[in-house]
């Protein structure tokens, strides 16, 4: 057997994990988080929202089916590094084009396997997400712990600029210079129904694929694009994407969104949801260890249905901070707007009144921890969800939200018809 290169993962609190290098050689720092998806490691690894993070997969066997161009969620890998229990040496799947190990090496991504990832996950669960350094070069635990302590964290950090495109491009059209559009670009509309401007803050390709499939011409613009520039493109709707880092640090983006409110229908996913919330005057806060996985139950308070969703976020919206409860529009119930569990039990989607933007409704709640998963600005033709209706990886239960965006652009009021009964 060939000798394997050792590697170390050191956390800022002094906890150290040993293993073997299974990607590129090197050293990398980031916030260490875990993802509980059992399949879809390639989509996770290529999701730009993981920029600044070292991702551990709780599923022990990673890389079994290799990597292929069609499952890319962006032009590369933006996460700082990966931690797995066992990286497969072989790839077995008819679509596989290379092994995961070769892919990580090719893209220069540092990764470690052989780690007790369950211990790491439990540690993060108890102690919270924290800074860490992963190295194949420096194998001195004390030195690595020091480096972890000295590394920059996520709070207050704008990572959007690092992952977003710098040039505007049309999805499915000519690729921007730095963008290798993968083979599968989704079904392009023959004659688009709508034109959507998508602010790229690290957008996952599957969002663009889904918008295209719904019949949209999607123009992807850099996050620094101004409201006027966006409106000059004469969009039927504007989309705000997922992305990495601390939402409260991306002030320019939610300020642009605020300017757009009321002028054009708005849909936001993940960071885009946080942008809408911040634009509406909500506050955001950091979760202890975030939601990352493909099995998160979310209740749609308007339909009563539960969606199993794909999630990846470390920050969350504080719904109660938006304004005062509109009891009349909240089923006549005078419950604490911040106690989301109470609204879930009552089966009512509460409406708060913001001074500037009018009625804002809580539409979706995470049933695991009763946190905000979706809101709608009823007077502003805008809605957003914290989770990933585009899936990739994860279940397709929330795909109807793309349809909801179409209905919003069509001028309907009842956009959340809910998941269609098949």
């Amino acid at each position: 057997m060939t000798e394997r290169q050792p590697a170390l993962l050191a956390l800022e609190d002094g906890t150290v994990f040993g293993g073997f290098s299974c990607g590129a050689a090197g050293e990398t720092a980031g916030e260490v988080v875990f993802n509980t998806s059992m399949a879809g490691y390639q989509e996770v690894f290529t999701d730009p929202s993981y920029a600044g993070q070292i991702v551990t997969m709780t599923s022990p066997h990673i890389g079994n089916y290799g990597v292929n161009a069609a499952d890319m969620e962006s032009r590369g890998v933006f996460a700082s590094g990966f931690v797995v229990r066992e990286l497969s040496e072989v790839a077995s799947n008819w679509r596989s084009e290379e092994t995961l190990g070769a892919f990580l090496q090719r893209l220069g991504v540092v990764a470690i396997d052989g780690v007790d990832t369950r211990r790491l996950t439990r540690h993060i669960r108890e102690a919270g997400a924290m800074r860490a350094v992963l190295s194949t070069l420096d194998l001195d635990p004390a030195s690595l712990v020091e480096k972890a302590k000295a590394s920059v964290g996520l709070v207050g950090r704008d990572l959007v600029a690092e992952v977003a495109v710098r040039e505007r491009y049309t999805w499915g059209g000519e690729a921007p210079p730095e963008c290798e559009i993968p083979v599968d670009t989704g079904i392009l509309p023959a004659s688009p129904r709508f034109r959507v401007v998508a602010f790229d803050s690290g957008v996952k390709y599957n969002i663009l694929r889904r918008l295209s499939e719904e019949g949209c011409e999607v123009i992807v613009v850099p996050p620094t694009t101004s409201a006027a520039e966006a409106l000059a493109l004469k969009p039927d709707g504007v989309f705000f994407a997922n992305g990495p880092g601390d939402p409260s640090a991306v002030t320019y983006l939610y300020e642009t969104l605020r300017e757009l409110l009321g002028t054009v229908p708005v849909f936001g996913i993940c960071l885009g949801h946080q942008m809408l919330s911040l634009a509406l005057g909500c506050e955001t806060y950091k979760l202890k260890y975030g939601h990352r996985g493909g099995n998160q139950p979310v209740k749609n308070l308007l339909t009563g249905r539960v969606e199993i969703t794909s999630q990846n976020h470390g920050f969350c919206v504080d719904f109660g901070s938006i304004g005062t409860l509109d009891v009349a529009r909240s089923g006549g119930l005078d419950l604490d707007p911040a106690d989301l569990g109470a609204w879930v039990r009552a089966g009512v989607a509460p409406v708060l009144r913001s001074e500037r933007f009018g009625a804002v409704q809580l539409t979706h709640v995470n049933l695991n921890d009763m946190t905000v998963e979706g809101i709608r600005a009823l007077d502003q033709r805008a809605f957003s969800v914290q989770y990933h209706p585009e899936a990739a990886p994860g279940p397709h239960d929330a795909r109807y939200l793309f349809g909801a965006f179409m209905r919003l652009m069509e001028g309907h009021d009842d956009v959340f018809a809910g998941p269609e009964k098949e």
């Binding site: 059992m38 022990p60 079994n64 229990r85 539960v306 098949e422």
Partner: protein, 1072 residues
């Protein structure tokens, strides 16, 4: 939506006896359902003929009917109980089919009973192959090409479009019964005829073969609000063509990209909606073409299944329990996740370990049958193992099988058929995984093995890595292995025994070396959520990692060793005893720790004990747990042979063994010392001897005389046991027997021909002995007690004999120092009582005795073992009048093994049992027969052909049948004695006498009852042909005279309409 208040009383139908394809997983699911519905305030009525189930314990349902699971009997229960609803989805195929029959015949409507969980049209769409394919076409899902056959001609026409090989799947059967793969027209015709007979609606799907495609299963749940979740994905190691029950399966799926997985998820949910499963769990099977990912739907089961039991154990998500709650109106988001407590059940479990299930076969019991694995399930049980990685779980699963192997080969027991090596790889068979590992050891390419086996390259590569690790330590001295090397071996699933073999060392040294190097295993939790949330349910598996999650409590704790995978002779009865021990010890305030590796069981439900370790029952694995938990005692006498054989080594290692000491167990097994005990007590026993060599065997035989009962020592279920009538036969046998158990000698007993066998189960606390039950066997001595019917109370023994039997049992228990359960087998011949054997442990009959008498014998024993004297338990008088007869009858799997002879003998072959209860013996016997065959003939032709020894005694049987209106048909010899007795008889030719003969008559459906006692020991005799034809054509087939006598009385009782239903709660009301 909250629980439904418009229904108050719910009827549950169980799955009846354990048969191949339907094992104790339905006790697990049914027990969960009973429990949860009861907790929710519903009145639960249960029908199940299987007394060895936990669900039929009187406290699980309000009204428990141990009655045949047939429409006729269930209708009687409905008429008596008038339930509001019937939940049909938790009793396997048997329960479902029974519910369908009741719905279709209008019984449910007549009594105003609502089907909940699955409506009639849903069940039909899911189970009827044709309706199912039409439904799939409607939602745009592919199914393999094929058509529906209702006769052989149909099948041949469809063949033109699908070609060979073709898969034949009957509608409404389980475990692939009646199905198969046909490679030529003869095979097609055979399978079609057989399959049509077994399908309740006479419909077969003749399907394009997708042999070699990858096979997957999805476990789906749906509630009334249309919330759907996938509980678990399962990937089959074996490609399509092997029944999933006979496949090694792995959870979660390993080689699907998320895109493919989500396509399958979407399809599964679409299928639930299209079929219309409103609430509950279903299982959907898919095949995927490895070359291009094409997905086809194979089938779905709109009910809980074997796979859902596996998925529940694999994820910690209790499907059956939730299915019952969903059926009464709850939604998934209203049910809390049992394990995290803080999050809802409306989610999809994420697992951070790998689960491997390996089937357990028993081909050695069914000589002459085809051992190839096909679409017809042949395994009798399974073991599941959990490890962080596939290899770790695979190694554990293979050492859990109780086949004497310590892993996937490399244990010194590898034997390969060099002449057919590649064939053993190419044709699916029990040994194939060992051949795969060996091929890799010999340097064969992964690609080469993939092309022969059609198994996914990822799995083969995993085994390659395991073999690589194994080979890297092979031949090296143990002391030279470094800690990282040894750790790696453990992480790849190698057992201490394998490492010992590879390093020419012994298990003890490996363990010592391992611990010296500080290599201790760690235990991790099964928590449904990959550690995202804290788990409150202590459900653990062992692995070699950095962090150990077990925090042993400081309570007084007792560890119970389970029974391992089901096999013939070791079934649900022992699991029943283990579960009862857990309940009783818990009631006494002890913390209970269960160790077992059988996913089908109630014992491996995390609710059963305070702590559950899902681990193999080997010395290594048990010791690792003992060292963490440090129990005050370990119970080894409840789980049958599996834990019992560990008793000595555990005790030697300083582990406190609770109850009867291993020394006493050995004493009862030691012929010489035991006969001294019997002599001392003045108890008679058949002359006996022990032989270690051929010469010794001959010498003993000449001393004792023939016929002789011969068997290897230390076996359960009469494995390898025969009756020898001649020296020549004896010698032939002894040569073979040494293979069965090389460390132990062969035992020879004088065979008491024609004696009545009696079983006694008793509990002893060292001072007092409580006789739980005296069971009189129906079949005479010579038939394994597990295969013979028996009755409580005895129906023909004299009072004096019974008194003597009780006396002997008590004296034996005290003399042997039994603390806990003891089973004694007696033979009564010519008024003389002989002791055949004593087993100071739980026996197979404990659940039956408990159900029949209302005394929970296993619980009583567990209490005794934990120190409570019998005198404190207020047990009723042991010789009280029960006022009823309870008959236990064994269920034989011959229908599953075409070609094997269906005669009974000293080697046990039955898979399960049923119980019949009635005020008189014939009625109770009739019920037991109806519970197995689901019908008894009430007229027509009875074919009788018996050996000379039985000719005189069979005459009254024939006369009785004649009086009941049967036409009697016999071969020449038997006919002559009937004519002499003045009984009208028609004659038919024997097989070798020409055509038409009796086999033709059987095939033509002209015979409704066969009474045929074996003529001799030559195989392939006339009798063999008659019996196999009867089995194949589903004709009631009786092979002993005693059973014939009882059956005729039973037929009479049935024809007179004397069979009424009775609830256990009414029988034992005074004792509850």
């Amino acid at each position: 939506m909250p629980r439904r208040d418009d229904i108050k009383k719910i009827l549950l139908i169980g799955s009846g006896p354990i048969v191949i394809g339907q094992a104790c997983e339905f006790d697990y699911s049914g027990a969960q359902a009973c429990k949860v519905l009861r907790e929710d305030g519903y009145e639960v009525v249960l029908v199940n003929s299987n007394p060895a189930t936990i669900m039929t314990d009187p406290e699980f349902a309000h009204r428990t009917y141990v009655e045949p699971v047939t429409p006729a009997f269930v209708e009687k229960v409905i008429a008596k109980e008038r339930p509001d609803a019937l939940l049909p989805t938790l009793g396997g195929q048997t329960g479902l089919n029974c519910a369908v029959a009741l719905a279709e015949s209008g019984v449910l409507e007549r009594y105003g009973v609502e089907l909940i969980g699955a409506k009639l049209d849903v069940i039909k769409k899911g189970e009827d192959r044709k309706l199912f394919a039409e439904a799939m076409a409607r939602i745009g899902l592919d199914t393999p090409k094929g058509g529906y056959a209702y006769c052989v001609q149909d099948a041949e026409e469809i063949l033109a479009t699908v070609g060979f090989p073709t898969i034949i799947r009957p509608s409404f059967t389980m475990g692939g019964a009646g199905g198969g793969i046909a490679y030529n027209i003869d095979e097609l015709r055979d399978i079609v005829i057989h399959g049509l007979a077994l399908s309740p609606i006479g419909e077969l799907l003749i399907e394009q073969s997708v042999i070699g495609w990858k096979e997957y299963e999805m476990e789906v749940m749906r509630d009334v609000n249309d919330n759907c979740v996938i509980v678990c994905s399962i990937e089959n190691f074996d490609a399509m063509g092997v029944h999933t029950g006979d496949s090694i399966t792995v959870a979660p799926a390993q080689t699907l990209t998320d895109r493919e997985y989500q396509t399958m998820r979407d399809a599964s949910i679409a299928i639930m909606r299209e079929i219309g499963v409103e609430t509950g769990g279903s299982n959907v099977q898919f095949a995927v073409n490895p070359a291009d990912g094409r997905l086809v739907v194979i089938e779905m089961n709109p009910r809980v299944s074997r796979s859902s039991a596996l998925a529940s154990k694999a994820t910690g998500f209790p499907i059956a329990k939730f299915a019952a709650k969903l059926a009464v109106g709850y939604t998934l988001d209203e049910i809390p996740n049992d394990i995290t407590r803080m999050t809802p059940a409306c989610f999809e479990p994420s697992i951070d370990y790998t689960v491997v299930k390996v089937p357990r076969w028993a081909f050695e019991k069914f000589k002459g049958t085809d051992e190839t694995l096909t679409t017809r399930m042949k395994s009798v049980g399974e073991a599941m193992a959990i490890g962080r990685t596939f290899t770790e779980a695979l190694g554990k699963a293979f050492r859990s099988l109780e086949t004497g192997r310590a892993g996937l080969g490399a244990d010194g027991k590898d034997v390969f058929d060099e002449d057919h090596f590649d064939r053993m790889l190419a044709v699916p068979n029990e040994q194939r995984p060992y051949y795969i590992a060996e091929a890799l050891r010999r340097g064969r390419d992964v690609a080469d093995i993939v092309s022969l086996t059609k198994i996914d390259p990822w799995f083969i590569d995993q085994i390659r890595r395991m073999v690589e690790v194994e080979q890297s330590i092979k031949g090296r001295p143990l002391e030279s292995l470094t800690a990282p090397e040894l750790l790696k071996a453990k992480r790849f699933g190698l057992s201490d025994v394998q490492i010992a073999y590879l390093t020419s060392s012994d298990e003890g040294s490996v363990r010592a070396r391992r611990l010296d190097l500080g290599l201790k295993p760690t235990f991790k939790s099964v928590d449904t959520c990959a550690a995202e949330f804290a788990a409150s349910t202590p459900y653990y598996y062992k692995t070699y990692e950095e962090e150990d999650e077990v925090a042993p409590s400081d309570r007084q704790k007792i560890m119970i060793l389970g029974a391992g995978p089901n096999r013939i002779g070791q079934g649900i009865e022992f699991d029943y005893c283990c579960v009862h021990a857990a309940y009783a010890l818990s009631e006494m305030g002890f913390e209970t720790i269960m160790v077992n590796c059988n996913p089908e069981t109630v014992s491996t439900d995390y609710d059963t004990s305070d702590r559950l370790y899902f681990e193999p029952l080997t010395f290594e694995d048990v010791m690792d747990i003992v060292e963490v938990e440090r129990p005050m005692g370990v119970l080894v006498t409840f789980g049958g042979q599996t834990p019992l054989k560990l008793a000595g080594r555990l005790e030697a290692a300083g582990v406190p063994i609770l109850g009867t000491k291993p020394e006493a167990i050995d004493l009862a097994e030691d012929r010489q010392r035991f006969s001294e005990v019997l002599d001392r007590l003045g108890i008679a026993y058949p002359a006996a001897g022990t032989a270690r060599t051929l010469d010794e065997a001959v010498e003993v035989a000449r001393r004792i005389g023939f016929p002789l009962l011969v068997r290897p020592s230390y076996v359960l279920g009469g494995r390898g046991m025969v009756i020898a009538y001649s020296e020549e036969y004896l010698l032939r046998y002894v040569e073979q027997a040494t293979l069965v158990s090389p460390d132990h000698p062969v035992l020879l007993d004088r065979f008491l021909e024609g004696a009545i066998e009696v079983d006694v189960d008793a509990v002893c606390d060292g001072e007092r002995v409580y006789i739980g039950g005296v069971m009189e066997h129906i079949e005479e001595a010579g038939i394994h007690s597990g295969d013979s019917a028996c009755c409580i109370p005895p129906f023909s023994l004299g009072e004096e004999t019974i008194r003597e039997i009780r006396e002997h049992a008590k004296n034996l228990a005290l003399e042997l120092g039994v603390r806990g359960l003891m089973n004694v087998q007696f033979a009564v011949k010519d008024e003389c009582v002989y002791v055949l054997e004593v087993n100071p442990r739980a026996s197979r009959t404990v659940p039956f005795v408990s159900k029949a008498t209302g005394i929970p014998l296993a619980k009583v024993a567990a209490r005794v073992m934990a120190g409570q004297p019998l005198s404190e338990m207020n047990l009723p008088s042991e010789d009280r009048e029960l006022g009823r007869y309870c008959v236990k009858e064994a269920v034989m799997p011959f229908g599953r093994f075409p070609g094997t002879d269906s005669i009974l003998g000293p080697e046990m072959k039955s898979t399960g049992e049923v119980m019949g209860v009635a005020p008189d013996f014939p009625s109770a016997y009739a019920k037991s027969q109806l519970a197995i065959d689901y019908s008894l003939p009430d007229g027509g032709t009875a074919f009788i052909s018996v050996c000379d020894r039985d000719k005189r005694a069979v005459v009254p049987v024939a006369r009785h049948l004649h009086q009941l209106g049967f036409r009697i048909l016999s071969t020449r010899g038997t006919a002559r004695s009937f004519r002499a007795a003045g009984i009208p008889v028609d004659e038919v030719q024997k097989v070798h006498e020409g055509r038409p003969n009796i086999v033709d008559a059987l095939k033509n459906g002209e015979v409704q009852l066969v009474i045929n006692t074996p003529f001799g020991r030559e195989t392939r005799s006339d009798g063999y042909h008659i019996r196999t034809a009867a089995v194949q054509h589903g004709v009631s087939n009786i092979t002993t005279l005693a059973a014939a006598q009882a059956s005729v009385q039973a037929i009479e009782a049935m024809m007179q309409g004397r069979l009424e239903v009775i609830a256990l709660q009414d029988m034992n009301g005074d004792l509850a």
